[in-house]
C-alpha cells in the first residue's frame, strides 16, 4: 500500500515537472479532434515537415470541441498560448482584433511552390484584412442534408438527392416530406437540427440555412436580420414544423439521426465517417432552396499562429507546409479544401472513400457557391444574449413575432 502510494506520488511529481518544461524546437498545436484517423493524418504531415526541419517536433493537443474557443482563450490569457491552433470561424474576428495573431502573409508568399492565389477569394474573406493574412482555412465545409434512405423508402418518397436533381428540392417540399416521413415512421421524426443541438449551442446553425433559403440572413452590416420579412417567414415555417407538424425533433427530446431516429439532419461532410456504423442506407444532398434561391452555408475553420509564440517563424513555416497543394489534397478526405486546384481535381470528387461522386459533386458546388456563417467579434456575447429569447421562441404557444423582436432587441446593441 505504502509502496503504491509512493509510486503514485513520485510519478505525479515527474508529471508535474515535465508538463511545465518544453524544448525549444517543440511546436504545440491545439486541435479539436481526438479522432485517431485525423491525428494519424496530422502526425503524418508533421513527419514530412522533418524533411526540411529535422529538429522540429509538432505535438498535437486535443482540446474538446464544445469549449474549444474558451479553452484557447484561457491558454492565451494565461500566458501559455499554443504555437499553432485550429480556429473556428466565429472566433477569428475577436482574436484578429485583439492583435493576437501573426501575419502569415510574408512566410506563405515566400514559400516555394505555395501559390497563394490558388485559395478561393471568398473562402479567404474571414482570414485576410488588406494585405495581412491572419490565418489559412483548412476546412471549408458546406452544410449538407443527410438523409436516411430507408425511412424515405418506407414512406414511399423520393429522396432529397433525386428531388434536387429535378430542381424540386425547396423549403416547401422539405416541409411536406418531413411531415410525411414523421407520419410513416411512428415514434421518429422527419428532421433533426444539426447534432440535435438546434435549441442550444447550435441555435444559429439551425436557423441560418432556412433564413438564407428565404433570402435573408441572421445579421449583416451591423444590423439584426431576424426581424426581416424573409427571416420571419423562415422561422415561422420551422416553428410550424416543430409544433404543428411535429416533424422536427422538439426541444427536450432526443431524435438522433445517426441512430436512425430522424429521417434527415443537417451536417458537414466530415460526419460521413460516422455513417459507416449507422446501419441504414443513407445519402447526402444539398440544402433545400427557397425564394432566395439556392444558398449553401459553409462552416470554416482556419490555421493560425500566435504572435506571442517564441517559435512563431517556424510555426508559420509549418502552416505553409500543412497548406501546400499536396497536404491540402491529403486533408481533403476529411476537410474540404479552399484551394481551387484541389477542389476542381477529380480526386476530390471521386476519391472519397465514404461518399459517392454524385454526392461529392454537390459538396464541391456548395463550397464554390456557399457563404460562411456571419462572424462577429462579440460572437460569444451575441449567442448568450440570443439564447434566452430563442428559448422563448421554441415553445408551442410562443408569439413568434414577439420572440423575434426580442432576439433583435437583445443583439442589436452588441452588433
Amino acid at each position: 500500500m505504502r509502496a503504491a502510494l509512493t509510486g503514485i506520488v513520485a510519478s505525479a511529481l515527474t508529471l508535474l515537472m515535465t508538463t511545465t518544461s518544453a524544448l525549444a524546437t517543440d511546436l504545440r498545436m491545439t486541435v479539436w479532434t481526438g479522432s485517431e484517423a485525423h491525428l494519424k493524418m496530422l502526425n503524418g504531415i508533421a513527419e514530412s515537415f522533418k524533411a526540411r526541419h529535422p529538429d522540429v517536433n509538432v505535438k498535437f493537443e486535443t482540446v474538446p470541441v464544445n469549449d474549444y474557443t474558451q479553452k484557447l482563450t484561457f491558454q492565451v490569457a494565461g500566458g501559455n498560448p499554443p504555437d499553432i491552433a485550429w480556429m473556428m470561424e466565429d472566433a477569428a474576428p475577436a482574436f484578429e482584433n485583439a492583435n493576437l495573431l501573426m501575419d502569415l502573409g510574408p512566410t506563405l508568399k515566400a514559400a516555394e511552390g505555395y501559390d497563394f492565389a490558388d485559395f478561393s477569394q471568398p473562402a479567404m474573406g474571414l482570414w485576410q484584412k488588406g494585405e495581412t493574412v491572419y490565418g489559412i482555412p483548412f476546412s471549408t465545409s458546406p452544410f449538407m442534408i443527410y438523409y436516411n434512405k430507408d425511412m424515405f423508402d418506407k414512406a414511399g418518397l423520393e429522396d432529397p438527392l433525386a428531388l434536387a436533381a429535378k430542381g424540386e428540392w425547396n423549403m416547401t417540399k422539405f416541409q411536406q416530406v418531413a411531415k410525411k416521413l414523421t407520419e410513416a415512421n411512428p415514434g421518429k421524426w422527419g428532421f433533426e437540427f444539426k447534432d440535435g443541438e438546434g435549441y442550444a449551442s447550435r441555435m444559429t446553425h439551425a436557423l441560418l440555412p432556412p433564413i438564407r433559403a428565404y433570402g435573408g440572413d441572421i445579421w449583416s452590416n451591423e444590423e439584426c436580420g431576424f426581424d426581416k420579412p424573409e427571416a420571419v417567414a423562415a422561422i415561422k415555417q420551422l416553428h410550424d414544423m416543430v409544433f404543428k407538424d411535429k416533424s422536427i425533433v422538439p426541444p427536450g427530446e432526443q431524435g438522433d439521426y445517426f441512430s436512425g431516429n430522424s429521417a434527415m439532419t443537417v451536417n458537414q461532410i466530415s460526419r460521413a465517417s460516422k455513417m459507416a456504423e449507422a446501419g441504414f442506407n443513407w445519402g447526402i444532398a444539398p440544402l433545400p432552396g427557397g425564394p432566395g434561391g439556392e444558398s449553401p452555408v459553409i462552416g470554416q475553420a482556419g490555421l493560425v499562429v500566435f504572435d506571442q509564440g517564441k517559435n512563431k517563424e517556424i510555426a508559420a513555416e509549418f502552416v505553409a507546409h500543412m497548406t501546400n497543394k499536396e497536404n491540402v489534397a491529403t486533408m481533403a478526405q476529411f476537410f474540404p479544401p479552399a484551394r481551387k486546384s484541389v477542389l476542381e481535381a477529380d480526386a476530390f470528387i471521386s476519391g472519397n472513400k465514404l461518399v459517392p461522386p454524385e454526392m461529392m459533386k454537390n459538396v464541391a458546388a456548395a463550397i464554390a457557391n456557399g457563404r460562411v456563417h456571419p462572424a462577429h467579434e462579440k460572437a460569444p456575447q451575441l449567442l448568450a444574449a440570443m439564447a434566452p429569447r430563442v428559448d422563448a421562441l421554441w415553445k408551442a404557444d410562443a408569439d413568434v413575432d414577439q420572440a423575434i423582436k426580442g432576439i433583435c432587441s437583445a443583439i442589436q446593441p452588441l452588433l
Binding site: 474558451q70 482563450t73 484561457f74 492565451v76 490569457a77 475577436a94 482574436f95 485583439a98 492583435n99 493576437l100 435549441y199 442550444a200 422538439p250 426541444p251 427536450g252 427530446e253 432526443q254 462579440k378 460569444p380 456575447q381 448568450a384 439564447a387 434566452p388 429569447r389 428559448d391 422563448a392 421554441w394 415553445k395
Partner: protein, 307 residues
C-alpha cells in the same frame, strides 16, 4: 533549532521572556505554511479582486483601464440582467434553504434514535453527498428530459402529463432546487443528528413524566436546544446556495430564458466567456458583500432570539 530550546529549558537560566519569544517563534513556524498560503491564495486575491472591480479589463486583449465605480453603476443601475440574476439567486436560496433544513430536521428526528434499519437509512440519505455534483446533475438531467425522460414517463403511467422540466424557466428552477436539496440534505441531516444526540435524554424524560406531549417536547425543549446547530446549518446552507455553480452549469447552463442564471454562474460567464474581467470582479465583490451581510444578519438575529 529545536534542540537549542530544549537546552535552554533544561538550563533554566534564561529569562521567561526569551522562553515566551521562542514559543512564539515556534508557533509562527507551525502556522507559517497556512498563513503564507492564505495570504498568497486568498487574502491577496481578495484585495486584488477589489481593485479589479474598479477597472475595465479585457481578458483577451489584456488591456486594463481604471474606471472607478462605473462597473458598479452598470451592474446596479443600468444592466437589467444583474437584477434578474440576483432575483434568481434569491429565489434559489429561498427555495433551497428552508426545504433543505426542514427535510434535514425531519429525517434527523426520524433517524436520531437507534432502530432496526437506521444505519441503512442514514447511509442512503447521505449517499448523494459523497457523489460529485456533476455526476448527480448529469443523471438528473437525463431523467428530467421532456417526453422521453424517465420522470415524465413514470408520471405518464399514472396519467400525469409532466412538464418539459428543463425547458420551462419556472419548472427548471424548481427542478434545480429539488435535485440540489436531494444531493445535499444528507449533510444537514447528519449535523442535526449529531446535535440531537448531544441533547441529554433526561430533559425529555423529565418533560414526559410531567405529561408533556411529543409536540410540546419538541417545541419547548428540543427545538430551542437545537438553536446553535440550526444557526450553523443555516449559515452553511445559505452560503452554499449562493455559490452553487457546477450543478447549474451541468443541468441548465443558466437557461432556459436565463431562468436559472444565478450569481456564481453569471460571474463565470462574464469573466471567462465574455472576457469582462473588470465587470466579473465587480460581481464577485457584490457576491462577497451579499454573503457577508447574510451571515452577519443570521448571527445577529439568532443572538437576539436567544436573549
Amino acid at each position: 533549532m529545536t534542540d537549542s530550546i530544549h537546552i535552554t529549558r533544561r538550563g533554566g537560566q534564561k529569562s521567561r521572556l526569551t522562553l515566551k519569544a521562542r514559543e512564539m517563534m515556534e508557533a509562527w513556524l507551525f502556522v507559517s505554511p497556512t498563513v503564507i498560503g492564505f495570504i498568497i491564495f486568498f487574502l491577496g486575491p481578495l484585495l486584488a479582486v477589489a481593485y479589479y472591480s474598479l477597472t475595465e479589463w479585457n481578458l483577451l486583449t489584456q488591456q486594463a483601464t481604471f474606471v472607478g465605480l462605473a462597473n458598479f453603476e452598470n451592474a446596479l443601475l443600468e444592466n437589467p440582467d444583474f437584477w434578474h440574476v440576483v432575483r434568481n439567486s434569491v429565489i434559489f436560496a429561498l427555495g433551497l434553504v428552508p426545504l433543505n433544513m426542514a427535510l434535514a430536521l425531519t429525517l434527523a428526528l426520524a433517524l436520531s434514535r437507534p432502530f432496526r434499519g437506521v444505519v441503512f437509512f442514514r447511509t442512503v440519505f447521505f449517499a448523494p453527498v459523497v457523489t460529485s455534483a456533476i455526476a448527480w446533475a448529469i443523471v438528473w438531467k437525463f431523467m428530467l428530459q421532456g417526453e422521453g425522460g424517465f420522470i415524465n414517463q413514470v408520471l405518464a403511467l399514472v396519467g400525469i402529463s409532466g412538464p418539459n422540466w428543463l425547458r420551462e424557466p419556472n419548472w427548471a428552477m424548481a427542478a434545480v432546487i429539488i435535485t440540489r436539496v436531494i444531493k445535499m440534505v444528507g449533510l444537514n441531516m447528519i449535523l442535526y443528528i449529531a446535535a440531537l444526540q448531544a441533547i441529554p435524554r433526561d430533559y425529555e424524560e423529565a418533560a414526559r413524566l410531567e405529561g408533556a406531549s411529543r409536540r410540546q417536547i419538541f417545541s419547548m425543549i428540543t427545538w430551542p436546544l437545537l438553536a446553535p446547530a440550526t444557526l450553523v446549518i443555516m449559515v452553511i446552507t445559505t452560503i452554499g446556495s449562493f455559490k452553487v455553480f457546477d450543478h447549474i452549469y451541468q443541468m441548465t447552463g443558466g437557461g432556459p430564458e436565463n431562468g436559472t442564471l444565478v450569481l456564481a454562474f453569471y460571474i463565470y460567464q462574464q469573466g471567462f466567456k465574455f472576457f469582462n474581467v473588470g465587470y466579473a470582479s465587480t460581481l464577485a465583490m457584490i457576491m462577497f458583500a451579499i454573503v457577508m451581510v447574510l451571515t452577519l444578519v443570521q448571527v445577529a438575529l439568532r443572538r437576539k432570539g436567544m436573549e
